[in-house]
Amino acid sequence: MKIAITTSGTDLDAPVDPRFGRARSFVIYDTESGQWSVLDNAQNLAAAQGAGIQAATAVVNAGAQAVLTGNCGPKAFRTLAAGKVAVYTDVSGSVREAIERFLSGTLQPAAQASVDAHSGIGL
């Protein structure tokens, strides 16, 4: 399966970005092959509204079935849920560590958004 990890960098050693909608980019990681690519999210960084919806749409359409991030707002959560993407919040450290934790099965999917709308603005 493919998983998406928010990051402020562009590789596996970069830190997990605590924001979902306004993350700098997403690492799309294939758990079967170990191959990964970067999905740029720069156009959403300065969006006045709808960053979470846009980012979630991009993640769903990239084929990811899980998202690892710090926080996720209500509209992004609804969009990801509609795309049948499991959301794992409160994830930190490097992208590589996040992937390892996900593969070891120690992460629990979130049942709801972890923050209010617009929480990622200005962070």
Binding site: A47, G50, I53, T57, V60, T79
Partner: protein
Amino acid sequence: MRTRLRVAIASGKGGTGKTTVATSLALVLADAGSVEFLDCDVEEPNAHLFLKPTIERREKVEMPVPQVDEDRCTRCGRCAEVCQFKAIAVLKDSVLTFPELCHGCTGCWVLCPEQAISATGREIGTVESGWASARPTRLEGAEGQVRCVGFHHGWLRVGEAMSVPLIRAVKRQAREADFTVLDAPPGTSCPVVESVKDADVVVLVTEPTPFGLNDLELAADMAAAMGRVAAVVVNRAGIGDGRVRGFCRSRGLPLLLEVPFDRRIAEAYSRGEPLVAAFPAYRAKFAELGRSLQGLARR
């Protein structure tokens, strides 16, 4: 012959005295012709506290938002592409709408190549209409007739962000009249733009303080950018400094009226008494303000 006059009362800063000026102007203009009063501050309407209208009609206001027929939708993404507010998201095998983000532009359902989107209503508030008594005046052939001011305002649903469609609904309630007075919300954003955009003259109410000046500059720039004729009324004259006067001079903005900082005026306000009702001496000043505004509108 009377000129039809549409005047919007605005201000950058809140609490400068828009409603004080708007209500007194409307009451005095009623001596010269028919008046319609529109309280466009649908987030915090307050003109009714002074005009004490009798409300005769009340109706819910909805705005159009998209509804997607998922069976007809081919997920082409045209709707999401055209939406400037991300109110619609097209996923691989479903479409989501976020009605609270929609500004009702109609773009998505007009442009959908499959006609898979239709408009549905979302309630945003209520409009109320009625009339307020001006004061008994003797008119030719109608002795003792009580002149009335047509009154309209709106109440935005609590938690609702889309005030502009409700302001439009308030404006639609107004009948043809010799004078239409619009009490705008404070600031310079979309709700203010909607309130002042079709006014013949915009009266900017300010106070002679640094805050008042800063926001007057913003409001004057807005009026200029919209090509509106603007004039200034200074409230609480006597406090602050002379920089508002200097600004009006430098920008060629006529300063039409000054209302002094006076505890008795504040007390009357706190009792919900319109300025011209509590202090009849102001009737002549507001009548003069009305004439000046008509003169500016004709220019």
